[in-house]
Assembly symmetry: C2
């Protein structure tokens, strides 16, 4: 039996034990995990910075986010109402047939395979949002480390294992696995795997999606595959704030060397303002020094993508990026006429790095056409005055159809971790637009409803017992109550 | 442009209008739909009975269920909290960066393709649970009628169209489409289709699942593909109620000529009680007269499946069913040793009709093995005394892993339509164990979360406006409140 097969057997055993644990035990484990990771911060931050080539300041921020995220899920589990407990009481006198007692709640899916992301060595990696939301749901995790930051991953894995031990959880709750594509394939092909979470490229995510649908028992794949996060600029907006807007765009485009899933790689600008705005953005971008990308492979792919685009006669380069060495990402900006953009979907493809395409549109009709042509996105941003958007017919609705998060006047980079966050969107941004990979609703990916019919109180899960011992919000006979 | 392509364009137009409507408008439309269908009941019942070969009494009950189901969704929409409105307030003073205002809710997916089922000409057909939950979510429906009951379907479709007109909804809200497999393929291949709902055979559901995953933009398929709904019988249970249990099993197995997705086609019985129990069941089943099945195709498939099973040396026939004519389904019962059942998955395949396999197990260990080997089911039923189940280790957890609904001491036929019902289960019972096709949570299949960041109140959906004009339950800064 392969090591992975052994891991899965351990995980399945752990799963059956996790099912029987009190919610406070899981919440306490997550709390302990945050504590263990925080305890190694002085070693972890420089290690992650060295391996990812990201500045220590950024890693420090990411660590804070990661710990906050773990504690958010700990609190969510301790509060307990995420299981959607729903009770319909019986009616033995109902005609023609008695009405049974039915009680429904969300239960953990089983062992989950999580793939680490290169661009967030902490927040979307070993103890990142996917791992933590799966554990919070009660699913053991088989974590496939990203090879770009192996030492960081090992350190965090040790912290998680410490927390598992200290909290008295079964050892099979968490597995740290290193390897290449073959390892990933073996993981998602195993019959005991019940779901997969992934953050990365379209190619990688789509391959997992296809593999998991082709299984004898298909399983859900929650792949966040990035997007170009367009900004829709309307005339009224730029009129008063040309320079501030240019600075905001340049800053968001180049933040973290453009290596965010929410990087605004596309901006739709009205022709009347395009020249002034472009000049202002270029002025800003010229000040942005090149910086090391995550690894040489990503840097190479970035320049290759720019090289391919350079072949197109339709793109006009406002700022061309030179490949200065094997690791440095330099910003680049091009523009294109809306009619040319509409004619070729290649200009919608994500270029992972600090590169943007400015699409110049003629009028409102063309702006509508751009929205209609757009593929699914994690985010769309609208830069408009309130009144001009209100008077734009169904533009807002058209744009909303294309994204998971809709911003007004801001920039899409910087994903808030909270209850209301939606980080997901229609295909190809993700493989499941009905899910989020950031925020507390991420836990719902790893659970499924189970209904119990006429089950005695002693055999029911705590959340469904008649006396509501967990004191959670429940839907009882159609009414939400917490007693 | 094909008629279906025109229908989709209409549906998409309707979708953008439905998005702007007040929830009471949708709720009123559903109420009107129930009224319109109820108004034709005197013609509808005999028509459905004639086309489905089901007794008028059964159809009358099914109509009641269908109307109740429509009204359940009307009430759900009117109440409004199903959208999971979630608000995280901003904090402009937060360091290092201000915290934005984020508001999240579920929004309709877009046009949905629904396939009618042959075994529920009303409750899972034209105005059945799939259609109604999609419409309730705000999704236009392209309904593919089942060819087994064309006139019934047309009559109900007219009622829905009347309700659309009377309620002032856009005409493209509902499309009634007749045709064969090609028509179904064209429907699910259309780029504007956003989801598919289906109830029927494994072959049909799996083909739709594969087709929709192979699309350029994959879409979710909610296929309920039936199952064998095992009953796990433990010794303590039968001891006191041998005859009553046999009668209950025989009645559930033969109800509706066995043509329910929840038909208990499998029963696990301890060897010590098997002979007595089998004899009692056979006594009951002998009294069950053959009855017409839904159509000749289903009847033919039923006898073909029995014929194939007859080839097996492992099965011992307790009651062999004779093919008396092209439409009549006669009950049949076979038994098999647990070790033989465990060795061949063919004995887990659903035989659609009044046929059951009794699996004879030796001891508790073998009962555990049976539970572990079992594929995903809509339901599992446990016949045990409370104490013996409590002392059976993780048997309850093992069984729970295999189903969407877990019954204690009852029979799985008879699916309650309510808030707590879960009608779904792990593959191959359905293609999405995280969804239900019966009960109010069915609406969630047809919606996805959208988050709005820093959106002015005037541009927010009603459910997310600061003043809570809909007065719905919302999660505000992590706390559920209805103000």
């Amino acid at each position: 039996m392969s090591q992975i097969a052994i891991n899965f057997q351990d995980a399945q055993k752990a799963f059956l034990i996790l099912k029987t644990l009190d919610k406070d035990k899981i919440a306490g484990f997550l709390e302990e995990m945050a504590k263990q990771i925080d305890a190694i911060r002085d070693d972890l931050i420089p290690t992650a910075a060295r391996e990812s080539h990201l500045p220590e300041g950024r890693i420090t921020g990411e660590l804070g986010r990661t710990l906050g995220q773990i504690r958010l899920f700990s609190a969510l589990v301790a509060e307990g109402s995420w299981v959607e407990a729903t009770i319909d009481h019986p009616d033995p006198d109902r005609k023609p047939a008695p009405k049974p007692d039915i009680r429904r709640m969300l239960k953990a899916l089983g062992p989950v395979v999580v793939f680490g992301a290169s661009n967030f060595p902490l927040a979307f990696s070993t103890a990142g949002g996917d791992t933590v939301s799966a554990l919070a749901a009660g699913c053991p995790v088989l974590y496939k480390a990203h090879p770009a930051h192996p030492e960081t991953s090992r350190m965090v894995a040790e912290s998680i294992k410490n927390a598992v031990r200290i909290s008295g959880l079964p050892k099979g709750t968490f597995h740290h696995i290193e390897g290449g594509i073959d390892t990933g394939q073996e993981l998602v092909a195993h019959p005991l795997a019940k779901a997969v979470a992934f953050t990365g490229s379209y190619r990688g995510g789509k391959a997992l999606f296809d593999a998991c649908n082709a299984r004898e028992n298909p399983i859900p794949v929650f792949a966040e595959m990035g997007s170009v996060n367009p900004i829709f600029v309307m005339e009224g907006y730029l009129a008063d704030r040309m320079d501030a807007a240019a600075a905001a765009y340049a800053s968001s485009l180049s933040l973290g060397v453009g290596q965010f899933c929410t990087n605004p790689g596309l901006i739709f600008v009205p022709r009347s303002q395009e020249e002034t705005f472009a000049a202002a953005v270029v002025d800003q971008l010229k000040e942005v020094a090149g910086a090391p990308m995550l690894h040489e492979g990503i840097c190479h792919t970035y320049y290759q993508a720019l090289e391919t685009l350079t072949q197109s006669k339709k793109l006009k380069w406002l700022l061309h990026s030179e490949e200065t060495d094997v690791l440095t990402g330099n910003v680049a900006l091009a523009k294109i006429k809306a009619s040319d953009w509409l004619a070729d979907e290649a200009f919608q493809e994500e270029v992972f790095g600090p590169f943007g395409i400015m699409v110049v549109y003629e009028d409102r009709d063309q702006l509508h056409a751009l929205a209609e042509k757009l593929k699914g996105q994690l985010t769309c941003t609208i830069w408009a005055e309130e009144e001009e958007l209100q008077s734009s017919g169904d533009l807002l609705h058209l744009i909303e159809e294309k994204c998971g998060r809709l911003l007004f006047k801001g920039v899409p980079t910087g994903v808030e971790v909270g209850h209301a966050m939606q980080h997901g969107g229609p295909f190809p941004a993700t493989t499941d637009s009905r899910s989020t990979s950031v925020g507390s609703y991420a836990i719902k990916r790893f659970a499924r409803p189970v209904a119990y019919q006429d089950m005695p109180d002693s055999l029911l899960p705590e959340a469904l017992k008649e006396g509501n011992p967990m004191a959670i919000l429940r839907k009882v006979d159609g009414v939400w109550v917490n007693y």
